[in-house]
């Protein structure tokens, strides 16, 4: 009896010690993480005027569902909570607070748009909740000193402008540069990025700048003024409507500058075709992801995997939309970070791992482009490759360049 009791006590004590040891091994958890689950929050406009961006949330959700089917991340399933904010900042604040305070998500991932992200920026940083891989490109997001909980994903506008500056310094050292930019933070990011990239030569090389307001009917007078300044290089930092106008006007007045066009306005469908395909020949832009409509990728296994994923997710209709490539790759970045966290799923460790990406390769990014971050660098994608428009499609040329 006594022996039995002692054995029982001994066994249970051993069991207790074992379970404590196991619990330690099983890891540390912040809110929203457990042995079986990782909760992730997201806001995207599924409705309203910006609902064409809603596909980002659908791709993210489908990708995490696929990861869950394959067994999850280190045995944990992702519980992805994606809500519709209609691109309305007050709604974003409300939903994000709900996800953080009620649903207790571990982090906010890939929330979309500059104004919605601005609205939750302060709240998430005050409460030390990771705001990871947001879907917006403004330079201001890369600010780990003041906002150590916010990380971007898309290459910043400034990084892209740096790449044009490098190219100009190397290949067109005597260039006289004219800049057409939208008169807001987005346009100024390009102008400042170019100045920054040219360094002390900026003052001499940039001979003229012209801005437009989104309410302007055309940019014709700006283009004429830029030509009149004697510039032989033109950088156009404009959204699709004005980019198309600029291309057409440059051609129509017989001006033949080396024309650099920002990625914001380089879509074949919404810019190059309306401007007139032949008028856009030889324009230079940049890319970092594989354009799904470009035939050169369509025979690769990476493309085939992606198409199979899109079809399985019921998103076949969106396979010409490059946004879905971005969302697919952003979700892969998130999975890579969570895998690197191992069993330490605290918010601090998630940020630490997100800030120590080292040459991460993703299948749908251009060959040679990798993601890297550091404690002072919260801009994962800085590399891009130049491309030239051949009258039908964009053709990549040169090497992968870094925008820092």
């Amino acid at each position: 009896m006594t022996v039995k009791l002692m054995t029982a006590t001994g066994l249970s004590a051993a069991g207790l010690i074992l379970s404590v040891a196991l619990a330690c091994a099983a890891g540390q958890y912040g809110p929203g993480a457990s042995d079986t689950e990782i909760k992730i929050g997201n806001t995207v406009p599924y409705s309203g005027p910006a609902s064409s961006y809603g596909v980002n949330g659908k791709v993210d959700a489908a990708y995490f569902a696929m990861i869950n089917e394959q067994g999850g991340i280190n045995g944990r399933k992702i519980n992805f909570i994606s809500r519709d904010d209609s691109y309305s900042p007050p709604k974003t604040v409300e939903l994000v607070r709900q996800m953080v305070e009620q649903d207790q998500v571990l982090l906010i991932f890939h929330s979309l748009g500059t104004p919605p992200n601005m609205a939750i920026h302060g709240y998430l940083n005050d409460n030390k909740v990771p705001q990871l891989f947001i879907a917006t490109g403004a330079d201001q997001w890369n600010d780990p000193k003041h906002f150590p909980w916010t990380m971007m994903w898309l290459p910043s506008y400034g990084a892209e402008a740096h790449i044009y500056a490098h190219y100009i310094l190397k290949n067109l050292p005597n260039a006289k540069i004219g800049v057409l930019y939208q008169n807001d933070d987005y346009g100024k990011d390009y102008l400042n990025g170019l100045r920054d990239g040219l360094g002390d030569k900026a003052g001499k090389m940039i001979v003229a700048t012209q801005s437009y307001e989104t309410s302007d009917p055309t940019v014709d007078s700006q283009i004429v003024a830029l030509q009149g300044s004697g510039a032989d290089v033109l950088l156009t930092a404009a959204i699709p409507k004005f980019a198309a106008q600029a291309i057409r006007k440059v051609y129509d007045i017989g001006w033949k500058p080396v024309h650099f066009l920002n990625t914001v306005g380089n879509s074949v469908g919404t810019v190059m075709k309306p401007a007139g395909l032949e008028k856009g020949a030889d324009i230079i832009s940049t890319a970092f992801a594989k354009d799904p409509t470009d035939p050169q990728w369509q025979s690769t296994s990476e493309y085939k995997d992606w198409v199979a994923f899109m079809n399985k997710a019921g998103l076949s209709a969106n396979t010409t939309d490059i946004q879905t490539v971005f969302a697919y790759s952003a979700a892969q970045t998130m999975v890579a970070v969570l895998k690197a966290c191992g069993d330490n799923l605290t918010r601090e460790n998630v940020m630490r791992q997100a800030a120590s990406l080292h040459a991460l390769q993703l299948p749908m990014l251009l060959p040679g482009i990798t993601l890297s971050t550091g404690p002072d660098d919260f801009s994962p994608i800085k590399q891009m490759q130049l491309e030239k428009f051949n009258g039908t499609i964009w053709k990549l040329f040169g090497e992968v360049m870094s925008g820092t």
């Binding site: 599924y46 709900q98 104004p115």
Partner: protein
């Protein structure tokens, strides 16, 4: 007897004080007082997120109250109140951000500016009736986000303005969310009281008379132009105050916050709550905040279909809005309830002044 009942309806306070005295006054105030105490104690019983949500409800309630004055009592339909909400929000934001004005001091200027804007807008609106006025105000709602982007020197354009976070007064020992809840609650109560005084008095009767029969009202000597403009100004003033509070609570403004949908939400909230009521504004605020979330919980794919269905259901079951329909029923239980406005029944018509 009928005359006396009618008298009680229009001048309940005079009746109460004159006929029964102190005991009755206590009885009349005890209900609202209990409600106010509950409302003030509520944030200390629930989580921060729910406190924040209810703060938004009260802000939208103030905005809807403004619209009720104009549309419900004066019969002028506005689809553009989101624009005045934006004007209030940006007034507060610019004062806070540019001039470092303390947050509580930004509300009165926002109220003044929105009152002035409303009067200015009300002048041309005099020439438009019914659906035409709705169209004019619709134009304003559509233009608001673009105007805000155009004047980007002041408004921060597309990027909006980030505002400093409000700090609760030290020593009180309550956090930011609960402090703002109480501030907004006080503003809401004052707004409701002011609205009740205005609408239960001479001005309110003039508003209603103009709504019900403008020619008869004019024949009775009501200056319809003056009262219609006044209704517009008062209405936009309330909505502008709500806008200023929303900027303070959200601590961010951007053009995307003030789209056409916001204006439509106000009208929906107003109709669901009870368009010619004061208490209905609170129901409207609840509807604006909770129903879209509720719809999203039910269906990810078609939340706005659910929203529409909820709207239809409310309108079908309670065509005069929640408070407009339940109010008279409640009033029968508690004779001195003041929730509902003078009705526009034929019985009352012509006796309002």
């Amino acid at each position: 007897m009928i005359v006396r009942k009618d008298f009680a309806y229009v001048f309940p306070e005079k009746l109460a004080v004159g006929s029964v005295g102190f005991a009755s006054a206590v009885r009349r105030w005890i209900g609202p007082l209990v409600l106010i105490v509950i409302a003030a104690a509520l944030p200390f019983a629930i989580s921060n997120y729910h406190v924040f949500e209810l703060t938004l409800v009260m802000i939208y309630a103030i905005a809807v109250l403004g619209l009720n004055i104009l549309t419900g009592y004066n019969g002028q339909i506005s689809l553009g109140h989101g624009g005045f909400f934006a004007a209030g929000a940006y007034t507060a934001a610019i004062l806070l951000h540019r001039y470092g004005v303390p947050y509580w001091a930004t509300v009165p200027p926002a109220a003044l500016i929105c009152f002035a804007l409303g009067v200015l807008f009300g002048l041309p609106a005099l020439r438009f009736e019914g659906p035409y006025l709705a169209l004019v105000t619709l134009a304003m709602a559509v233009a608001t986000p673009q105007l805000l982007k155009y004047f980007d020197n002041w408004t921060g354009g597309q990027q909006g303005i980030n505002l400093p976070k409000v700090q609760p007064p030290p020593g009180l020992g309550i956090d930011r969310d609960r402090w703002l809840y109480l501030v907004v609650l006080v503003v809401l109560l004052v707004a409701m009281r002011v609205a009740a005084n205005l609408l239960n008095g001479r001005t309110g009767r003039a508003f209603v008379a103009i709504r019900d029969h403008p020619i008869a009202a004019a024949a009775m000597g009501i200056n319809t132009a003056r009262y219609k403009t006044l209704a517009f100004g008062t209405s936009t003033m309330f909505t502008g105050i709500a806008g200023a509070l929303s900027a303070i609570v959200i601590s961010f403004v951007a053009p995307e916050s003030f789209t056409l949908f916001l204006s439509l939400s106000f009208l929906v909230g107003s109709a669901v709550g009870g368009i010619a009521t004061i208490g209905g504004a609170i129901v409207g605020g609840l509807f604006i905040v909770f129903v879209p979330n509720f719809a999203n919980d039910i269906s990810d794919a078609a939340p706005w279909a659910i929203y529409g269905l909820a709207m239809l259901l409310f309108m079908y079951v309670m065509p005069r809005g929640v408070v407009g329909s339940l109010g008279p029923w409640l009033a029968r239980l508690t004779p001195k309830n003041q929730l509902t406005a003078p009705k526009s029944d034929d019985e009352h018509r012509g006796r309002l002044l």
